[in-house]
Amino acid sequence: MAVAAEVRIEQVAREDLVMFVNACFSCTGQREFYGDARGQSVSIEFLHQYILGNYRRLYRRTLAAGINHFNQAQIILNLLAVGSPADPVERQEEGSLIAAALRGLPTQRAFRVLESLRSRHINNRRARAIAREYLAGRSNLPFDAVKYRAKLRAAVVHGHLKLDGELGPFLFHGWKKRVYTQPLLETFRKAHFAQEALYELPYTVAEGLAQKHGVPRDVFLQRIEPRLTQAERLRLQESAARHGAVEPQVDLSRAPLTKLALYVLSMKDEVREARRDELHTALERASARVLARAPASLGRVAAVLDNSYSSSGSLQKRRRPLGVALASHYLLSASAREYRAFWTCPVEEPLLVTARGQTDLATPLLDALAWGAELVVIVSDGYDNDPPKAVAELTRVFRERLDPGRRTALVHVNPVFDAEEYSPRSFGGAVATVGVRDAEDVPTVLGFARFAEGTASLAELERYLSARVVSWLERDAHRIASAAPGVSVSVEEGEA
């Protein structure tokens, strides 16, 4: 009796964790095609609280599982909010995980976390120390002070931090001070009074000031062009054209895979047709770069890709499911020995794909099985409606009658989080479902798929997570060692 209960407990724990990690891969709390933003955020918040309360060790280790930035930030905040654990070993692990995760986040997201500490009323020794350590590790704090001024100020005020040199006065007096010796700070001050100084500031800061000076949009965009970051260039393509300005040059060879795929999908058909070779090479290079970082070599792979209307995503996540499908197409074709793609609504040229039509996953899946794939990757939001629940039945009968030895692996990669089920929507028990946010994570989630399938035990999952934690912390230590130390930050209270 006791044994049975223990087995059940282990099973529940494993299912909970798989559900949580899956949710952390895909959910961003934003609106989806079928679900609204409110439902999404309520659902993911509940999951976080539930896992934090019941499996704290695994909760923090999930930080290293390769989950998306939104959920990393949530975990950091939730961990800081509940205070540090009593056990010194655990405390040490948690502290280094949080610090490493914060360093690994994109700058704007990391500063957003520091700002959220204030809005969520989190102020304990550890939270202050984490903020201080993060700021001490920044290589160019004056630049951060200009670009993320409000957030940095919030962090400094809230954490009782003291910044060296002119940064303190800069944060609290800003452009009202007479003069700064730091060139960037001085430019920021000048830009409030002289138009010329605008164009040496970061774009997001200069944008508001340009409005203040009444600079025409097209002139502004043209002159600020050298200061634009890659992401800003991609983002500004369409709006620049709308304002009659020259579109900023995009270096396609540097854009990450999924962003690139989304950029391609945002273009009109004719443009895609005209620039087909260029875009095709860029996508191939981007997927090669992903594979260089996380090598994956697969055998005979078939991808069943969903380009139904629901893959157009929502206003907040425009065409993301389709973008993930397109990026996965390139990534899988680069990593597989033999590869074929099967779209729900067949397309001649993957680059010209659009979100259109019903979700008929049964036909492409049958084609993929008939082709004799070793691994079938289904990229879909999990709503198959022609006929409904056909994939679940199809895979069940396939496993039962045609492939009881599991020669063919079936993995469902789902970029959409279903708020009501607290996980990405699945196709029943015969297919392992894993969540994903960017196609870059596909190699990672394919490794995670065996846990989602339910064949691996809880101990294995723990080993998997702790191995990832070790390698992740090592990589982080390596990164710190190679980076130059930044401006020192002192604190009013003397604690470590």
């Binding site: 095609f33 079928y34 139904s308 209307y309 629901s310 609504c345 259109r356 039509g357 019903q358 979700t359 049964a362 036909t363 049958l366 099985l369 008939a370 409606n385 022609d386 006929p387 409904p388 629940k389 056909a390 679940a392 039945e393 199809l394 069940r396 009968v397 396939f398 039962e400 009658r401 045609l402």
Partner: protein, 392 residues
């Protein structure tokens, strides 16, 4: 000689049903057409700028005569023959149709006829309002023999004014969500709309491209009370059909099984829509548009059954090219049934009551409760009420 294109029994000839898509309690069933001829095209014409439209059924729009008054958000432009197929796309470029007059703070659109020929191969019609007008006009003339019970107004003006209430599509947020997330098939030309698995409406056009453009107009159309009924039912069951594992020994077998599953879905939806398709209807010709026949129809109007009214265009070979239906609510059916029975007995109260298996007094009260009290003389009604109160 009767026209073979006039519908006796609604058959979805040339059409195919695909598996449904469910959103909350709304179930949408796509209607597909395999063979598209492309000689009959539909386009939407926007009338939403006027909160009220007055359609002249006889005579010029500004003259006296019978009028149909309603909120009409859009009309439909029908063109046939290949010559016009391209022109329809640009109908928005045309000068605004009809006349708009200011009445206080509102503007009212005056339209000429339900169906109005605009060109040699082009027709403007008011979708669903055409069918509704046909329904309101049933026995509109009122009593043709001056029986003593009927009021003077009923004898001189008939049923005028005859009023029915409907529910606009946007009154239901579930319908909005369902139409937004619905995934339109490539060959789709129509839609069956179920609320809580009750058939509310069927909409079919001739060409898939037209359907794609007209899909969202379903939100502006009107529906019966059933759209709002069952509001507490959150979800219609998402059905799933099983595959028979015993019959499968290869991937090809799986393929045939999936094909069978599709056929089962189509048959099942056909069964669900059995209250409309396959039942006897009474239809009347409205307009002959080249080789096509525009008509409106209604089902039996027996209160115990599901009743629909609608309009249809049938091609020369009997294919259903256009269909739009409206599900009558129970009260609307009762009204129509009473009128039908009265008319069948030449508006004689005793005969009708006998046919319905009740008394004259009861029938009078029933008419009053159904909303036709204005047809009867006050003292006759009063007497019926008093005899009811006496318990006779």
């Amino acid at each position: 000689m009767t026209d073979t294109r006039l519908i006796q029994r609604l058959e979805p000839k040339g059409l195919r049903l695909a598996p449904s898509q469910v959103f909350g309690r709304i179930r949408l069933v796509p209607v597909l057409r395999d063979e598209v001829k492309g000689d009959l095209r539909f386009a939407r014409r926007d009338y939403s700028d006027a909160p009220l439209s007055v359609v002249a059924l006889e005579g010029a729009p500004t003259s006296r005569g019978l009028k149909y008054v309603s909120y009409i958000p859009h009309g439909m432009v029908v063109s046939w023959g290949n010559r016009q197929a391209e022109a329809v796309y640009g109908t928005r470029l045309q000068a605004p149709e009809g006349k708009k007059v200011k009445v206080g703070p509102f503007s009212v659109r005056l339209l000429h006829r339900m169906v109005h020929r605009e060109d040699r191969n082009q027709l403007r019609m008011l979708p669903l309002h055409l069918a509704m007008e046909g329904f309101l006009a049933l026995h509109f003339g009122g009593p043709d023999i001056a029986w003593a019970e009927y009021s003077r107004e009923a004898l001189s003006h008939g049923l005028s004014p005859r009023v029915e209430g409907v529910v606009p599509g946007w009154a239901s947020s579930a319908l909005d969500g369902a139409l937004r997330t619905f995934e339109v098939h490539e060959q789709q030309v129509g839609l069956l709309l179920f609320n809580a698995d009750e058939l509310l409406s069927a909409f079919v056009v001739a060409h898939p491209d037209d359907y794609r453009l007209l899909h969202r107009t379903l939100l502006e159309d009107f529906y019966g009370d059933l759209l709002l009924q069952y509001g507490y039912l959150l979800e219609a069951p998402e059905l799933g059909l099983p595959l028979d594992a015993k019959r499968v020994s290869s991937v090809e077998d799986l393929r045939t099984e999936v094909a069978r599953m599709r056929a089962d879905w189509a048959a099942f939806h056909g069964f669900m829509a059995g209250g409309l398709f396959g039942v006897e209807v009474t239809s009347r010709k409205v307009y002959e548009a080249g080789p096509f026949l525009l008509q409106h129809f209604h089902t039996s109007l027996v209160p115990s059954e599901e009743n629909h009214l609608g309009e249809a265009i049938v091609g020369p070979d009997g294919t259903l090219e256009y269909l739009k239906t409206y599900r009558l609510s129970a009260a609307q059916t009762r009204r129509a049934y009473l009128l039908q029975q009265l008319a069948a007995s030449s508006w004689n109260m005793e005969d009708t009551a006998e046919k319905l298996g009740s008394t004259r007094q009861e029938l009078l009260l029933r008419l009053h409760n159904a909303g036709f009290g204005y047809l009867l003389k006050d003292h006759v009604l009063e007497e019926a009420r008093r005899s009811k109160a006496r318990g006779s």
